[in-house]
Symmetry: C2
Subunit: 366 residues, 2 copies
């Protein structure tokens, strides 16, 4: 990849490639005249350590509000990010955000089982929504979220930051342009050691499932965009628990296989027992991969021709800027609810394949 | 790894570590007084391009005989390797090798379905046997081969060259010494594009199966020695054929999962559609892997701490020298028939899991 192409990819990930196609490129566009205001709902680790810092780097969106059930967290955020009192909500008075013109977008960073409720409440309050992955704990909930945002004429975007990461954009490009020919096999795995036995991830009522819901979804995503098709059936296997008490409520480790209409296969694994983190494609004429594929940083890309020479960016900033730009330009964003719903269909298919022991047909296009 | 340790590993792979443990190290040992003579049965690509050249580098064994059904091949071998007329056989007169004192070992490089017959005939002729992988096309055949060699008081070794390859020895050491803690997950895949539609590999009567038999067996091997335990059950999936005419007789692509008693899992894939070639271990405290893992050369080893600094060796020479040394010292070799039989049990388990759609128990230790 040439240097200029790299720079283009990095910039376009943040600003959208259309700026380059426009004869007005370089001039201030109407949407550049203002930034959107976002409120973060749920001030856990991801909001605190990733999203809020990223929002200090964004061009099209800025942190203006918080929603939290823990009053003791408020002073820190007020001091650090100059959050105004009128932009601070709790879960009871959250719906009053309908009257708050500072807040255009609500970013939902709550446990999975709360995504549907708060997406629907935010849409009813007239706000655009960015919702963390998985979008919900079921296809049914996901569809209700899409419907609610459509009815409110608001955008729904899922927290798929990797659609704005230059390593993953390069994987997509290599597939799309068939640089190494047609993809035949994807190996995609994502797992980590879940330490704290009391974390919400391990409670099914909050998480909706185990590592599949939490990080396996990245391997599903990766397989789908690296094959460049939608899978038509899935097989899956859950493995015996080595820590049955800790993982009594959710699966500990599982594998699954996606079969695609063009004959490509994806073989995947996800676990709460150990770190594994890879997206690999074997194509007719070579291979390409990202290791530490799904992390917030530290991606390492290689192809059968050599390393990917890509400069990392802030994924969260690029993602939120990209979504905000779409909202400002009044066009669909790159990671809409429909994209999240396709992963939910695969996840439900995997759980069904595990419980039935049979292959399960998928129809992600309907 | 230090330089001296590397050198030690390389040398010990060829000569056996015991030379260093002995107070006589460096002096001529009794077994060094002579080389064994080997006859290659089956002068296909592997014998021609790998084994015969490797036998020019061996210390304990040398090429003295050939067995071929194609008389036109003989003059080339006679000229290139100075094979004496009395050491040349065909498949009809092969059993007369019993009277040939030049030949101590027969190396069987025939299609899989002929391994059992020629191993048993060679044992009856009083010869030690090295048999290519897979050792046979069934557990039953494999057991008969072991029994025949035992009855004849001859050694049986399987062509598992990677047990003598320094990258794979390093994978085994990292597991054995728990350098990164206990292994939790192995990903092992081996596949290539089978070009010629008329090759024997695609004929079930000769091969006994598809990519699983031919190269998937390396992924089984790799998973077993990288976990350092024997699997207790297997699940497996065959995928629809993209070239059903070409692969009408054998599977085209398949995946399988091995579950180990300590809780480790191996997720594997094998195919005749595309190149994939990897052995990866995720352990409690880090990861280690070999890419281009199962090739004759070109291994690339890495751990979560950095690259494996290992100088490649000639795998085939190390393998044959190692087996020959065990024979000369009258002790068991490192890759005996029993090791081959364990892989045959896994292979039969995989095919059974595919046809039944259920998990299949394995007992490799009985």
């Amino acid at each position: 990849m040439t240097h200029s192409r790299r720079k283009f990819l990095q910039y376009s990930a943040v600003m959208g490639a259309s700026a380059f196609a426009s004869p007005l490129a370089g001039l201030a566009m109407p949407w550049q005249q203002r930034k959107l205001g976002v409120a973060l709902i749920g001030l856990g680790g991801y909001a605190t350590n990733q999203l809020a810092p990223a929002l200090q780097q964004t061009q099209n969106i800025e942190l203006r509000g918080i929603v939290t059930g823990t009053p003791s967290k408020i002073p820190v955020w007020v001091e650090k990010y100059k959050i105004q009192d009128k932009n601070i909500y709790n879960y009871e008075n959250f719906d009053k955000i309908v009257d708050n013109k500072d807040i255009d977008v609500v970013y939902i960073v709550l446990p999975n089982s709360m995504h549907a409720e708060y997406t629907i409440r935010a849409a009813k309050a007239g706000k655009h929504v960015i919702c963390e992955k998985p979008m919900a704990v079921s296809v049914k909930e996901g569809q209700a979220m899409i419907d609610a945002c459509k009815k409110a004429n608001r955008q729904l975007a899922i927290g798929y930051r990797l659609h704005y990461d230059p390593f993953h954009l390069e994987m997509m490009r290599l597939t799309r342009e068939k640089v190494f020919g047609k993809v035949k096999l994807v190996e995609a795995s994502d797992g980590f050691r879940a330490g704290d036995p009391n974390q919400w991830r391990l409670k099914h009522a909050l998480s909706g499932g185990g590592p599949l819901m939490d990080v396996g979804i990245y391997a599903i995503q990766g397989a789908r965009y690296t094959v460049g098709e939608e899978p038509i059936y899935v097989t899956a296997q859950e493995f015996p628990k080595t820590e049955p008490e800790k993982f009594k409520d959710v699966e500990e480790s599982l594998a699954w296989q996606l079969y695609f209409p063009g004959g490509a296969i994806a073989n995947s694994f996800s676990t709460y027992t150990t770190g594994v983190n890879r997206l690999y494609a074997a194509a007719e004429g070579g291979w390409y991969e990202v290791n530490n594929a799904y992390g917030y940083r530290g991606q390492q890309g290689r192809t059968s021709k050599g390393p990917m020479e890509i400069t990392p960016i802030n994924q969260q900033a690029a993602h939120m800027d990209g979504v905000a730009k779409a909202i400002l330009e009044n066009r669909p964003n790159n990671v809409p609810g429909e994209e999240g719903l396709r992963d939910m269909k695969v996840i439900e298919g995997i759980y069904e394949a595990i419980s039935s022991g049979k292959k399960v047909k998928l129809d992600l296009l309907k």
